[in-house]
C-alpha cells in the first residue's frame, strides 16, 4: 500500500514586501510504501521543510496532489487537518518540541488526552513503549531535567503512542551528540522493523544511511534517489557520500 503519494507538487510563497514570488517546491513527485524508512536530504533552502509541512497538513500546496495515508490533503479542511495529524501522524522534531509545563509522561499523553482517551488506557499504552525506549525511569521528570537524547526519546514516544500510520521526523538528530544520535537512529531502525513507516528529513549523511531509501532534493525538485538494497549501513553511507561528492562536483563543472 502506498502511504505517501505526491505528484506534481508545487509551492510558491509571496514575500511580504513587494509581492516577489519565491518557488520553494517546483515539481515534486514522490511515493512512499507502507513499512518504508525514507530519508530526504538536501541543503538549507532546498525545500525539505516545506515538503514536510505540506505532508503534515500544516501548510497547503499551491498545485499538485498530495495523498497521505489515503487522505487527499489538498481538499482537507483546517478543522479535520488537526484531527488527521493527531490520529494518523507522529512527529519528531529537531528541537524536541516538548512542553516545559508538563512532565515527560504528560507530554507523551498530550495527543491521547486531546482524543479523550481515559487515563487508565493511556497508562496501558505507554508502558510497552516506555520500556522499548528505555524511558520508564524518566517519566516523572520535567524536560529541563533530562538530556537532549532523553528528550528526543520522549518525543518519539509521544509520536508512537497514537499508533500513527506515518512518522514524520524533521532533523531528529540535529540537536544531539553523536552517541545519542546513534542510539536514536538505531531506535528508528527498530521501530521500522516492526512495520512502522518513517519519513525523515535530514542533512546528516549518517542519519540518512540508516534509511532504506534516500531521496535528494535540490532547488525544489527530487533530484536523485538511492535504494539501500542489501547494503549494510556502512556501505549505504559510502554510497550516499559518493553521490553527494559527485553531485557537488557536477554542480561545479
Amino acid at each position: 500500500m502506498e502511504m505517501v503519494s505526491v505528484t506534481g507538487l508545487k509551492k510558491t510563497y509571496v514575500t511580504r514586501f513587494g509581492g516577489h514570488q519565491v518557488e520553494a517546491l517546483k515539481n515534486v513527485n514522490l511515493s512512499v510504501e507502507q513499512g518504508e524508512f525514507v530519508a530526504i536530504m538536501g541543503e538549507s533552502g532546498s525545500g525539505k521543510t516545506t515538503l514536510l509541512n505540506i505532508l503534515a497538513a500544516l501548510d497547503t500546496a499551491t498545485s499538485g496532489s498530495v495523498v497521505v495515508a489515503g487522505q487527499d490533503l489538498s481538499t482537507i479542511k483546517e478543522k479535520y487537518a488537526a484531527q488527521f495529524r493527531r490520529n494518523h501522524l507522529g512527529f519528531v522534531f529537531q528541537d524536541f518540541n516538548l512542553l516545559d509545563t508538563f512532565t515527560l509522561e504528560d507530554n507523551i499523553y498530550l495527543p491521547l488526552v486531546l482524543n479523550g482517551v481515559s487515563h487508565k488506557e493511556m497508562r496501558q499504552r505507554l508502558q510497552p513503549i516506555a520500556t522499548q525506549l528505555g524511558i520508564t525511569e524518566l517519566l516523572q521528570k520535567y524536560p529541563y531535567e533530562v538530556s537532549g537524547g532523553q528528550k528526543q526519546r520522549c518525543a518519539v514516544a509521544r509520536a508512537l503512542i497514537t499508533n500513527p500510520k506515518l512518522i514524520l521526523a524533521d532533523e531528529p538528530t540535529g540537536a544531539l551528540d553523536s552517541k545519542a544520535s546513534d542510539s536514536l537512529l538505531e531506535l528508528f531502525h527498530q521501530i521500522n522493523e516492526t512495520g512502522q513507516t518513517i519519513l525523515m528529513v535530514t542533512h546528516s549523511v549518517l542519519a540518512a544511511s540508516h534509511a532504506s531509501r534516500m531521496l535528494f532534493i535540490r532547488d525544489g525538485e527530487v533530484f536523485h534517489q538511492i535504494y539501500r538494497g542489501t547494503d549494510t549501513n556502512e556501505q549505504f553511507y559510502q554510497k550516499i557520500s559518493d553521490t553527494l561528492t559527485l553531485l557537488a562536483g557536477g554542480k561545479q563543472a
Binding site: 500544516l58 499523553y109 495527543p111 486531546l114
Partner: protein, 669 residues
Amino acid sequence: MRQGFYQKIATTGIRNNRKMYLPYMCITGMFVMIYYIMHYLSDMEYPAGMRGISILRTTMPMACEIVAMFSLIFLFYISTFLLRKRSREFGLYRILGMDKGNLCRIMFHEQLFSGLISIAGGIFCGILCSKLAEMLLYQMFQQPVSYAFHIPWTAVCSTAAIYAAIQLVLLIKAMWIVRRSNPLILFSGSRTGEKPPKANWLLAIAGILILATAYYMAVTIENPLSAFTKFFIAVLLVIIATYLLFIAGSVAFCKLLQKNKRFYYHQKHFVPVSSMVYRMKRNGAGLASICILSTIVLVTVSCISCLYFGTEKEVRDMYPYDMELDLIANDLNIPEIQEKLETQFSAYEDQITDETSFFSAQTVGVIDHHILTIPEEMDWTLSADHIRAIVVLSTEDYTKLTGEQVSLQPQECLLYPSGTSYPYDTLIIANGATYTVKEVLQQFHSDFSVDSVVAVIASFILVVPDLDTFCAPFEGMESRLGNPLVPVYWEYAFNLTCDHNKQIQLSAQMKQEIEQLLPEDTTFSWTSYAEELEDSQGANASLFFIGGLVTLVFFCATVLIIYYKQISEGYEDERNFAIMQRIGMKKTEIHQAIRTQMRMVFLLPVLFAGIHMLFAFGFTSKILILFGVFDTSYMALVTFFSFIGFAILYTIIYRITTESYYQIVSAAH
C-alpha cells in the same frame, strides 16, 4: 560617537517596542492630564453661589498628592516590566561593543523622548479637558457655566515639574538596571525551562487563615468610630492574605487539581491546568495587585455613589422638617418663647404648615447590665458595648411624635434599644430614679430627627411619664463643655410651602428675628432643610468629582497591568501553542484552552474584589451612616450596581486585551 546617533537608537528602540511603550506613554500622559485637571480645579476661583465647594477646595490638593504618589509607584513598577522585556536587546548592544556608559546615554535619550512626549501631550490634553471638567462640575452644582478659557501657568508648571521629577527617578532606575545587565544573557540558551513551581502549603493555609481572620474582624466591627484601627488592621490583613492566596494558594490549588487524575487528564482541563501552575507563579503578585486595586476602585465608587445619589434622602432623614429650631431649654421659659415665636411667624402664616414642637433630654451614659450611669466626664476609651446614647421623651411628646397612646405609672418607662438589645425588667439610673421597663419597644416610627451619632453608637430611647422628674437629680450639674449634664432640648419645627430658593431667603430672615426674640446669648441651632440640602449636594458633588478622578487613575492602572500581563503571556505562550498545533490540536481547541486560562486568571481578581467588598460592606455602611446615609438596602443596591458596572467594564477590557494576546499567539502559525 555623534550626538544624533544616540537619539536615533533611542527613538528606534521605542518604535520597535511600541506595543509596550505606547500604552506606557499613554498612561503617563493620562496621569499628567488628570493631575493637571485636579490642580486646575483646586486653584480656580468659584462663585459664592456654589455651596459646598469648600470640600473640593480642601480635599483636592490632597487628592493631587495621592495621584502624584500613585503615579510614581505605578510607573516605577511598570518600567521594571518594560526593561526586563528588553534585557536581550541591551545584551546585544553590549556584545556589539557598547559600554555601560553608552547604554546609559541611550536610556537617557529614551527617557527624555518618552517623558517629553507624555508630559507635553498630557498637559495639552489636560488644558483641553480642564474646561470640560469645569463645566461638568458647574453642571453638578447647577450653576451657569462661563465660557472664558484660561490656562493657569502655575498648574502647568507644577504638573510639568512633578512629572519631570518622576521621570528622573525612573531614569535613575533604568540606568541602574542597565548597569547590572549582563551580555551573557544572550548566550544562556534560549529556553532553559523553568522549574515547576512547588506548592507552598504553609503559605496557602496561612493565606486562608489570615483572610478568615480579617473577614471576621471586618464583620464583627460594631462601632466604626472606636474600631477604626481594627478596620485598618483588617484591611492590611486582607491585602497580605490576597497576596498569599494568589501567589501560593493558587499554585497549591492547581496541584490539587493535578492530583485528581480523572479531572486533570481531560481534554478541557489538561493544558489549562498545567500551564496555570506556571502562570500563577509568575503572575500571582500582579493579579493580587489587580485584585486590590479593583477593590479600592469598587469601594470608593460605591461609597461615593451612595453619598451622591442619595443626597436628598440623606438630608431629609436628618432634617424631617423644612425649618428646625433647637434650643437647650433647661434655663429658659419655653412657653413664653413659643408664644413670641408664633406671634412673630404669624406673618408667614400662609406658608407655614405642619408646625410642631416637643422636648427631649439627650445625653450619653454608661450601661452596666441594668444600671445606667450618666458620668460628668465621659470616658470615650470605654468599649463601645457599654456606651449608650440616651434620648428621653415624655409620654405626651411620644404620642405627639408617633401617634401611639400610652399610659405609664410614675415608676414605669418604655425602652427602645437601637443597635443593641435590653434583656432586663428594670432600669436603674445611678443617682436618679429606678424604672420598671413596662415594654421594650421593637420599633420606633416617628419624624423625630435621629442624630447621626445616635445611629452609630448603640442608643436607648426612653419614654417616661414626666421629663422633669427624670432630669431633676442632674439639675445644675454641668458637663465639661459647660452645658447641662442632661440637657433638655426643645425642638420647634415646621414645613414651608415655598420653593427652596425662597426657603433659603426666608431662613436668613427668620434667623434674625429669632435672635432678637430670644434672651441674649442664648445658643440655638436654626437649620433649614433647603440650605442643608444645597450644602450637602455641593459637598457630595465635590467628593463625587474627586473620587471619580482618583478612581479613573486607579482604573487606568488596573487596565494597564492587565494589558501588559496579556502581552507578556502572549509572548511566553507563543511557542507552546505552536507545538500543540503541530501535535494535532485544532485551532478552536487552542482558542478554547486560551480562553479557559484567561478567564480563570483574569476573573479571579474581580471575583475576590467582589468578595472583599462584600465583607467590607458592614464597615463601609456604618461609615456611611456617619455621613447621613441610613438606608442599608439602598447602600446594598448601589454597591451591587457599582460591582456590576465594574465587572462589565473589566470584561470589555479583558476582551480587548485578549484580542491582542490572540494576535501574538497566532502570529506563530
